[in-house]
């Protein structure tokens, strides 16, 4: 599937509406974030969540924000949804300045937050009715939309039970329904399938695809590569509060070219040895972008142009008395795109932040 998309993209000229004004007339992006800055806390302990984040989401796209936990995705989405004011920067949705007229923006978008906040005592239907009243839907419209969404998301069996008895997947579906109730032009989802069973995940993916094909713009954040690869027609990689790569998955992978090789000369090298190998490889013809992956025991990640290069590379290393201990080869994936842009894999980035975050402090931050 991914392979096909890739070859199709290779055959066609640049089909990117944002970068190619010849094939497609330039359209104004539905979402435009410019130079967003936002810090939490003060003084010495201040944490910079966003550091000049720019984002343009074309109308009608299914757009993915990819990055490890703590990269600033949630902060960016909270600012977009008018829950949080940026320290600096501008937010425009459908041409409306969200900082000047937040209410107009709130009407346009549906937001499905990461931490599902549900009133346990209400039934799912009562929660949707409350939501409908908060968006000032007429009673008739409200009831019709609830019926539609109950069907669409397969909630019929349990919608009249209290939310307290719902599983994670049921809650997430109900929350998605709440975000869609007022038929927004833009749906914003923060990590929509994190911690979900496979069935709920694929149900949500299917709904998001349907929405997108019927004209709703969908923006979702995720730290799952597969999710973004499978769903998004465009993505931005977010790292340390800024966007470091942007484009369609196929274009981004295409730009990398060649085969990805992970190579070790020893099970666990040290920095000096890795640097020696790196220098040596950089001298090889047909080898590009040699990166030392410190987190993976100083293995080396590189791009090679074809099978012959791999053989030559093995020979040269053996001659330098650094015979190859292990070598893995693959077509470029989104993980490689991420690695190329940041110098580490997404999983390593996840592990690096896992210990340094304080969920309690973050919950306080999101409290009003």
């Amino acid at each position: 599937m991914a392979e096909q998309a890739q070859s199709a993209a290779a055959a066609l000229p640049d089909n990117d509406p944002l970068t190619n004004p010849l094939t497609n007339p330039p359209i104004e992006p539905l979402i435009e974030l410019r130079g967003l800055q936002r810090s939490y806390g003060r003084g010495e302990r201040a944490v910079r969540a966003l550091d000049g984040l720019d984002l343009a989401v074309p109308s009608g796209s299914l757009y993915g924000l990819l990055g490890p936990n703590g990269a600033g995705k949630t902060t960016a989405l909270r600012i977009l949804c008018t829950l949080l004011a940026p320290d600096q920067g501008t937010v425009r949705v459908a041409g409306i300045d969200a900082l000047a007229d937040p209410r107009a923006v709130r009407r346009l978008l549906g937001y499905v937050a990461q931490e599902v906040a549900i009133d346990k005592i209400l039934t799912g239907r009562e929660l949707l009715e409350l939501q409908g009243d908060l968006y000032h839907l007429d009673r008739g419209v409200r009831q019709r939309r609830i019926t539609e969404l109950v069907d669409l998301l397969g909630m019929g069996d349990w919608i009249d039970r209290r939310c307290g008895s719902y599983s994670g997947g049921m809650r997430r579906r109900l929350d998605l329904a709440a975000g869609l109730l007022h038929s927004p032009r833009l749906l914003v989802l923060d990590e929509p399938t994190v911690g979900l069973d496979i069935e709920s995940r694929s149900a949500i993916w299917q709904v998001l695809r349907q929405l997108c094909s019927s004209g709703t713009t969908v923006l979702l954040s995720s730290h799952y590569l597969e999710e973004v690869d499978a769903l998004a027609d465009r993505l931005a990689i977010v790292e340390a509060g800024r966007v470091i790569a942007e484009g369609s998955p196929a274009t981004l992978k295409q730009a990398l070219g060649g085969d990805r090789v992970t190579l070790r000369v020893r099970e666990f090298s040290d920095a000096a040895e890795a640097r020696r190998v790196q220098t040596l490889l950089q001298g090889c013809q047909g080898v590009r972008q040699v990166v030392v992956n410190q987190a993976q025991g100083f293995s080396l990640n590189l791009v090679v142009d074809g099978e012959a290069v791999v053989d030559r590379l093995r020979r040269q290393l053996a001659e330098a008395d650094l015979p190859v201990f292990a070598l893995a080869q693959s077509r470029p994936s989104l993980d490689d795109v991420y690695l190329q842009a940041t110098g580490r894999t997404l999983m390593d980035a996840e592990l690096a932040v896992a210990g340094s975050r304080d969920p309690k402090a973050e919950r306080k931050q999101s409290m009003r």
Binding site: E28, C81, T82, L83, A94, G95, I96, R103, A104, R106, R107, L108, Y111, A113, E115, A117, I118, D119, I121, L122, E126, E129, L130, Q131, D133, L134, Y135, H136, D138, R162, A178, R185, K364, S366, M367, R368
Partner: protein
């Protein structure tokens, strides 16, 4: 460029705004009542506790010599007004708890992402809910007091009782909502409620008249907002229904029913003005 969708047959903007505020406020209020209906323990405890006060505390001084209390009635009769006010007061003091839980569990964020016409709807819903709840509790106490033979204020007196309670409930609700937004979590809010509750009761004229108290406590009781609610209600029970009747012989002077009510109204207004900047900041 796109424009925001409006309703097809939009009425006059002002009427539409009012209709929207009404819709969102009613929906939020309905939620609180559904919660109460499915978890009635707060209501049950809220009625039960003052009844126990009334029965046990009322019996405590049943054999006190006649004529000891001003007005010469029984202690139970004297206590009735105090318990009614205390019930309304502690009910209203809890007004901030649902709001605090909504803050902590992120439900408030759901409300703030919605295009509410006015975010005062969130506060207004709490005020409506607590007012109704306090009045229901108070009526239960009024009825029980009547059954125990502690008297009934009569129709006109009842109006005075309800007006007094409304003013007190508004003031205390404002205070509690302010605390719910100012304090970091429900533990702190419950601690404040716990600490505030009993001392305010003891340092008022709910359990004993001013004349029983040492000067310093008399001063405290005469400045305590509860006293300004208790005395008009006590006078209603005594069948004294003139707004100009003197009901409080405070160390700093005499106060009439009307003056007590004015103090309560000023307090409610002042507290709402005081918490407004806080609410604006937290809900903006």
């Amino acid at each position: 460029m796109t424009t925001v969708r409006t309703r097809p047959s939009a009425p006059a903007p002002q009427a539409e705004a009012l209709a929207e505020i009404r819709q969102e406020t009613l929906a939020l209020t309905r939620r609180l009542f559904v919660q109460l209906q499915r978890r009635p323990s707060t209501l049950v405890a809220g009625v039960l506790q003052p009844l126990i006060w009334l029965v046990l505390f009322g019996a405590l001084f049943a054999k006190a010599p006649e004529g000891l209390l001003p007005g010469g009635g029984s202690y139970g009769r004297f206590l009735g007004a105090g318990v009614i006010v205390f019930t309304a007061f502690s009910g209203a003091l809890n007004a901030g708890l649902p709001v605090m839980f909504d803050r902590e569990f992120g439900f408030l964020n759901r409300l703030l992402v919605a295009p509410l016409r006015s975010r005062s709807s969130i506060v207004l819903a709490s005020v409506l809910y607590i007012t109704v709840l306090s009045l229901v509790q108070s009526v239960a106490i009024l009825a029980t007091a009547a059954l125990l033979g502690y008297g009934w204020p009569g129709p006109a007196g009842l109006v005075l009782v309800l007006v007094t309670l409304l003013l007190l409930v508004f003031a205390v609700t404002a205070l509690s909502l302010g605390l719910a937004f100012a304090l970091p979590g429900h533990i702190e809010l419950i601690a404040v409620i716990f600490v505030a509750n009993l001392p305010l009761l003891f340092a008022s004229t709910a359990l004993a008249p001013l004349s029983f108290m040492p000067t310093w406590l008399g001063w405290l009781a005469a400045l305590n907002p509860l006293t300004f609610a208790i005395e008009p209600i006590r006078s209603a029970y005594a069948g004294q229904l003139s707004l100009s009747a003197i009901v409080l012989e405070a160390p700093y002077g005499q106060l009439s029913v009307a003056q007590c009510l004015m103090v309560l109204a000023a307090l409610a207004l002042g507290l709402f003005l005081l918490i407004r900047p806080l609410l604006d900041r937290k809900l903006s």
